[in-house]
Symmetry: D3
Subunit: 64 residues, 6 copies
């Protein structure tokens, strides 16, 4: 406890996930006053062809 | 808001997901009276060897 | 299959959920060509004080 | 994107969640280089009587 | 690891959840050959008015 | 109902999942007194590079 699940577009590097897991854990420790070992982070990559906003898949949207 | 997560057997075509995301979003707009842009849909493909009903994996069931 | 999970702000009436479950199921049947009995919909109410966008809880945002 | 879901024991104050949502969002912005508005955080309170580790509900564990 | 999430109709007694968490953990230990302390179980109660099968909320279905 | 989601490290054999699904379903039937057909189990494989405990990805931890 806590368990943090992160759904994000695929494409994050291993290094980014390493840093991201650390940053989310640090934030949890700081705000909740808990031990880092109590924090689990699970990343779940989502393809742009599996995520829609406004009824349109991100794989179909023009890149900004 | 809302966030709609759909767990379904893998094998759906890109065209089906495109149409499905649109249909789920339209339903949300119609019932909740919200803006389409407020609706997120995330598809999560599940293998038949990762889903069991009645204690039996779907990959082990005879196809009807 | 499929399993549809809908996270939405609390405050939806029973009648809206009834209609919404029906609409999401109908959309699934139409797009996937499956039997309605194969579709599960689970609603999960989220308080505005439990959902943040842009780092700000919705309970803290001025109502538009 | 990303969508961050946090399952945590109930008992967090509104002020802690406010600060926590901000901290998780800031971490996301810093690591992923995205706009804060792209980050959603959803908190899901879990009762100690609904979470077990090692087969024992936390409500049954002696408090350390 | 593993993390087991159980969505079930509300109405389970505390004693049933206690026994259920133990049984799911025992099953995990037996099949995966892991330590019981590695197993987390989270129960999530769902109201019958929040779960639909076949487009009909369970709160609207005649009890069998 | 119930719906059991199991997040576990990838690497489980098909035979282990077959046995695990059966064991989780049996436990549910025994404790809840329900029909096996009412139990769904969904496995979700997680890479060690997608799961962190204590801020460290499992792919970065020395194997015990």
């Amino acid at each position: 406890m806590p368990l943090i699940t992160v759904q994000l577009f695929e494409g994050c590097s291993a290094e980014q996930k390493r840093e991201y897991a650390k940053a989310l854990t640090d934030a949890s420790v700081r705000v909740l006053g808990i031990d880092p070992g109590a924090v689990d982070v699970i990343f779940s990559d989502v393809k742009r062809s599996d995520w829609a906003t406004g009824g349109v898949l991100w794989s179909d949207k023009p890149k900004g």
